[in-house]
Amino acid sequence: MKEIINLPVSNIEEEEYHINMGPQHPSTHGVLRLLVSLQGEIVKSLKPHCGYIHRGIEKMCEKDTYPQVIHLTDRIDYLSAHINNHAVCLLVEKALEVEVPERVKYIRTIMDELARIQSHQLWWSSFGMDLGGLTCFFYGLRDREMILDIWEETTGSRFLQSYNCPGGVMQDIHPNFQKKVHAFLKTFKKKIKDYDRILSGNVIFENRSQGVGVLSKEDAISYGVTGPSGRGSGWSCDVRKTEPYSMYGQVQFNEVLRYECDTYSRYMVRMQEMHESMNIIEQLIDNIPEGDHSAKMKAVIKLPAGEYFQRVESARGELGLYVVSDGNKTPYRMKFRTPSFSNLSVLDHISRGMKIADLVAIGASLDLVIPDIDR
């Protein structure tokens, strides 16, 4: 008991309690380290330390040709692999002024929306788990399995598909594709009601999330918090609406906006987005035009010298792709403006004065994917 007596007498107001959340922590969903300063249970400030899985993808891209870059973009934000691929393909096609077949646009849009749904499903699962409702995790993963099966049948992989290629897609959709997507939509429309019953409407969940981690619209813009997190603050920042690409200009869908600015509103935006994504898929799935699955491209793709920028809406926000080309077959500089990186920067700002449990909820509501931060 000697230690107790020898404890230094300290001033509570001045002493801060530093605690590491991560790199090996269940709530950081990967190897992110948050150095949290606490006062009791209250978070005073926090410092994110990232880079634990930094792989230097931007440097690797400078050695790879444009088709080869695709497989690296899969690994930035693994949950929206299709969308990342899509960004590279759009950029190359725009630079070379290649017109891709209509069929490709349809397939890419459907795949993007499937990616968005499965990303949100996994986010919902881990959100529930972070709040302590472990059953959510299994329900989310169970339903996500159907999308992975659809992908596996068409692209050959479940997770990192590398399905898009400049000019089109690697191979045509499987004959079962439409049938399976229909089956998925039918099933998931029933299952998503369970999501609402078990979590959205739950009184504990509402109390845990409402008024927690308030992020005003001005702050969201200033910190560059895009995607569902930004739209939860009432900022209309959906690239699919502001700069439509592929089929997004021609389908009807609503940009989900909520104005409570808290964790609950970010949650509800994602839940609504799943419905909107299903809506988009329903509009497209039966109308995929016949045609080639790829445009004719040169064997070696060389971008004209210059600078290019392509934005797409990934599942967690705006993915920017900035390429400086010197006319070679490899990019001179390739920069990914990843949504999670900007979203992480706001975590300190909105979690100050909250409790540790709130910090977990806020972190989950920002839907951080660590490889997306570290690249």
Binding site: C50, G56, G224, R337
Partner: protein, 152 residues
């Protein structure tokens, strides 16, 4: 505002800006010394209102090091790219814009980490991805790492 009027408007506040070739965005090369001053003007002028810095990237042009700012106005929906360049490869530095756009804080740290460009008045300029004792700046073109970079 279309690109022509935008260009004219910006040349008003920054007469020494030079336009660069870019099909997509209006790209202006600004003098590095006045960057912070102009950033405040770009954000706060009601007719410009560039409130969203959606990308901040460092580029190594071998002779020069550059920082590229992609700006967008959520209100007027126009976009602008500004660039600053420096010839100093040993000790490159620019003024920080993270008090204007908060998102720049992390992006500038990343640029410092990868290119070694220092940002004056940055509140917390440390390496963000690499370790504190990492030698060199990996995204520079003259960076050599025999251990981690494998040549095929």
């Amino acid at each position: 505002m279309d690109n022509e009027t935008l260009k004219a408007r910006i040349l008003e506040i920054a007469p020494d800006a030079q336009q660069e070739e870019n099909k997509q965005f209006l790209t202006l090369l600004l003098p590095a010394a006045r960057l912070h001053d102009l950033a405040i003007k770009l954000k706060n002028s009601p007719d410009l209102a560039f409130d969203f810095l959606f990308c901040l990237s460092g580029v190594d042009y071998i002779k020069q090091l550059a920082v590229v700012y992609h700006l967008r106005s959520t209100q007027h929906k126009h976009a602008l790219v500004i660039k600053v360049k420096t010839d100093d490869r040993v000790n490159p530095n620019f003024d920080t814009v993270c008090d204007v756009w908060r998102t720049a804080e992390f992006h500038e740290r990343e640029t410092y980490d990868m290119f070694g460009i220092r940002f004056n008045n940055h509140p917390d300029l440390r390496r963000i991805f690499l370790e504190e004792d990492w030698k060199g700046y990996p995204l520079r073109k003259d960076y050599i790492d025999e251990v981690n970079i494998v040549e095929f």
